[in-house]
């Protein structure tokens, strides 16, 4: 089959909609290997891969899944991703995962790790407590965390993680990050061609596909899309932020785009471009992974910022991408995103960057309302420019 952008995106959409994770099942059978799931935002996927296992990003159930039992586990004022994840677990849809990692991004995910311990005994469950101290002390702690995980991965997979295997995995993920960066650049350059709904689906596919397959998909997509003749549209260029964990439904991404906004940067599926520089391939790959975490990464609400630069990462994104405004799109009841927002809004105001804000749930029914809001926002920028 010829790899046109269209059939690549169709494939991604199938993967996105397949909440039984058939790809994972098939990959495991074909490779006689194991799979490890992880919650947003960041885990060192290289380490899972180096043990010969498939890292699988779990981002809730979206708007395609009816929640029957999951709601009984959470009060109404807690976001939706934990309840749909529990539903996935209880309905056996995560049975092909041989372990699940819960990175320290908020107390909901943290407590979900404990719920998992109680509900799914016998599985490998790891609360990945990433250091928020990015100095020497954090380095020692994170080294121990990774060593502990590496040992578990070796046990589960039956494979040794060697410097060679880790270097190979790092190189593959570096290449994947490079391609993702290229795709993001291409979208910023030609957002009428690289539709955000395409990009969103390509990013979601990175949660599931084995990294080499995903990299090839990105290459094929970019070749195809560069040659496409999608019509130029007069849209306002915006950056979307706050959507790093529970994901907006695809219909909402499309609605935002169709309301007159070109999304030229965003923070969904952020774990796949968490590191801004390539990770060193060399004598000490484990140390390189650690340095990569401590060093130059994206700024996001789950990463503590001590200095005076809060908000400047976003401002720079706006400038670099030639964006005209920011849309804060946060999951309802998401403390990290919503507590970050006022701080960043202040910086945007200072920098004269217009913004609008809304909340969503992964199954939100408010698409039309939000579309009107982002449409009005786009119109106001078109009419009045940067205020």
């Amino acid at each position: 089959m010829k790899m046109t952008a269209e059939n690549i995106i169709n494939r991604c959409e199938e993967l996105h909609d397949d909440l039984h994770f058939n790809y994972v099942k098939q990959w495991k059978e074909a490779n006689d290997a194991k799979a490890i799931g992880f919650m947003p935002v960041y885990v060192p996927r290289e380490l899972i891969h180096a043990a010969g296992m498939l890292p699988v990003g779990i981002m809730g159930g979206g708007d395609n899944m009816e929640i029957i039992r999951g709601d009984a586990f959470f009060q109404s004022y807690i976001c939706r991703i934990p309840r749909s994840t529990i539903e996935l677990g209880l309905t056996g849809r995560l049975d092909d995962l041989d372990g699940l990692l819960f990175p320290a991004i908020c107390d909901v995910i943290r407590n979900l790790s404990g719920m998992w311990q109680m509900m799914f005994e016998g599985k490998y469950i790891k609360y990945l407590d990433v250091p928020q101290n990015f100095g020497e002390q954090g380095r020692a702690f994170y080294s121990a965390e990774l060593a502990d995980m590496a040992k578990a991965f070796e046990r589960i997979s039956g494979n040794k993680i060697t410097d060679d295997s880790l270097n190979t995995s790092i190189a593959l993920y570096n290449e994947n990050r490079r391609l993702i960066a290229e795709l993001y650049d291409l979208r910023a350059e030609a957002p009428h061609k690289v539709l955000t709904s395409d990009l969103f689906l390509l990013m979601r596919a990175s949660n599931i596909l084995e990294v080499t397959e995903h990299s090839q998909m990105l290459r094929d997509y970019m070749v195809s899309i560069r040659n496409s003749d999608r019509p130029i549209r007069d849209h306002v260029r915006v950056v979307v932020t706050g959507a790093f964990c529970e994901q907006p439904p695809l219909s909402l991404v499309r609605a935002m785009e169709n309301s007159g906004c070109f999304i030229v940067d965003d923070d969904w599926v952020l774990g796949n471009r968490y590191h801004l520089d390539p990770i060193d391939v060399g004598d000490r790959p484990m140390a390189a992974l650690i340095e990569a975490y401590l060093g130059k990464t994206v700024a996001t609400a789950s990463r503590y910022e001590e200095g005076d630069d809060k908000g400047m990462y976003l401002v720079n994104q706006v400038r670099d991408r030639n964006a005209e405004g920011v849309i804060f799109a946060s999951a309802s009841f998401c403390d990290p995103a919503l507590l970050d927002r006022p701080m960043i809004q202040d910086v945007l105001t200072r920098e004269n960057i217009p913004y609008t804000a809304f909340k969503y749930a992964e199954n939100t029914g408010q698409i039309q309302v939000i579309k009107e809001q982002t449409g009005t926002f786009a119109d106001s920028i078109k009419l009045w420019g940067v205020q």
Binding site: F74, A144, D335, L339, D346
Partner: protein, 425 residues
């Protein structure tokens, strides 16, 4: 903590009131007396260390709960929401931000000084990180962070211990030295820690007194008073020890005379239900909240909220022989730093050790740290103990989320459940 409600006064209450008034008085004069001020959280607070540098602590959560008690929090929260804060997030944060925007007047009516240092103890709550990032925007002062890793596997590993101790030694102490302009006086720190350990011993005795029937204390509504000194500005100071000695004597007296605790309605001697409770209380209607239970003859025999600033019943004490290590261990051991299975076990033990009829969860809208997962905890505890579990909802300081009628409704069927179990037994 540090609460003034209109209840029958006992000596310990009066003493605590004086201690608090004295502290806020000192804070209001901190600048003129050249005292440095540290803002820091209750869980994982390093009071002995702060005091060893002769600095004064301010606890934003205490300010928030005090604002709740004084019916100011609703206005403060709205003030914060006006500046862009979402209605969805932790109301303690918004209450504190709102209070600051309205002039930072403390609970005794005196102004609070600005911080010279923000000492962020990231212990048991992710929101703490965001809260101090927000304060950092408001104050032109240094900030230092101490991360206490989460006890996800139900234990403190050597790596966790090392991480905290190293941060204390290499990051926190130097920051305190910089701001105070003094070297850490290690002897003074030891003295303070010795005193803490003695006060902790007394506090554990006080908690254990609830094993008596009738219980001489209410470990929740009364308990929030009992933790006042030790959770806040006083742990390590002689007046803190004195307070617990006096409190212990009062409790001993009540045990000897088979008296119940003092509630807003007088002494609770007819104790119909012995209940263990999980989750913080509501502060905006604290008195009404308490009365709902007192009216039904409920005595709270153990609570988890009163362990957020330190869990001492398993034997942990601040240790002058291992000053920084034990401070680190203290941070690691605070209640909300425990995994959900560990929290289930803590509650299960309380129910058994204190011979409770059942347990209740007061689920707090604001607080993901406490609340996420509580419904599963309830099922697990019911399964493990066979005792009746009840679930009510409210908020800490947002008056919009307190409904006495809803709580009473839920409790009605809850008490019926307990009665049914009694008959069944």
């Amino acid at each position: 903590m540090n609460i003034q409600v209109d209840i029958q006064k006992e000596d310990s209450m009066l003493i605590q009131k004086q201690m608090i008034a004295g502290h806020f008085e000192k804070l209001s004069k901190a600048k003129e007396n050249n005292k440095k001020v540290v803002y820091t959280f209750v869980p994982g607070n390093l009071n002995e260390l702060i005091r060893a540098f002769d600095m004064l602590p301010v606890h934003p959560e205490v300010n928030a709960l005090q604002s709740g008690m004084r019916k100011m929090s609703g206005g403060y929260i709205q003030e914060a929401e006006k500046t862009g804060h979402s209605e969805d997030v932790c109301t303690y944060v918004k209450c504190d931000i709102g209070m600051m925007k309205k002039g930072n007047i403390g609970p005794t009516g005196l102004p609070l000084p600005k911080p010279d240092l923000l000492l962020l103890s990231y212990t048991g709550c992710f929101t703490f990180l965001k809260w101090f990032e927000l304060l950092k925007q408001e104050y032109d002062c240094p900030i230092v962070m101490l991360q206490a890793p989460y006890q996800a596997e139900g234990e403190i590993t050597p790596e966790m211990r090392d991480y905290v101790t190293k941060q204390l030694e290499e990051v926190v102490v130097p920051a305190l030295e910089d701001v105070s302009g003094k070297k850490l006086d290690r002897d003074r720190l030891k003295e303070l820690l010795e005193s803490s350990a003695r006060a902790e011993e007394l506090l554990v005795d006080i908690w254990n007194s609830a094993k008596n029937k009738p219980s001489p204390i209410d470990a929740y509504f009364g308990g929030v008073f009992y933790i006042g000194p030790i959770f806040t500005a006083f742990r390590g100071l002689p007046e803190c020890e004195d307070y617990y000695r006096i409190l212990k004597a009062e409790v001993d007296y009540r045990v000897a005379n088979k008296l119940g605790p003092v509630t807003p309605e007088g002494e609770l001697n007819q104790q119909k239900y012995r209940i263990v409770i999980e989750g913080p209380p509501n502060w905006t209607s604290f008195r009404d909240f308490w009365k709902i239970f007192a009216d039904e003859g409920v005595v709270m025999v153990a609570s988890t909220y009163t362990k957020v600033g330190g869990l001492y019943e398993n034997g942990f004490r601040h240790d002058p022989q291992r000053p920084l290590e034990s401070l680190g261990e203290y941070c690691l051991g605070c209640y909300t730093n425990h995994s959900l299975p560990a929290r289930v076990e803590i509650l299960q033990n309380y129910i058994e050790d204190f011979e409770a009829d059942g347990f209740l969860i007061n689920s707090i809208k604001s607080c993901n740290s406490f609340s996420a997962g509580q419904l599963l905890m309830m099922r697990e505890i019911e399964k493990k103990t066979g005792r009746a579990g009840g679930f009510i909802e409210s908020d800490l300081v947002d008056p919009r989320y307190f409904s006495a009628a809803n709580i009473k409704n839920r409790l009605e069927s809850y008490f019926q459940m307990i009665e049914a179990k009694r008959v069944g037994a």
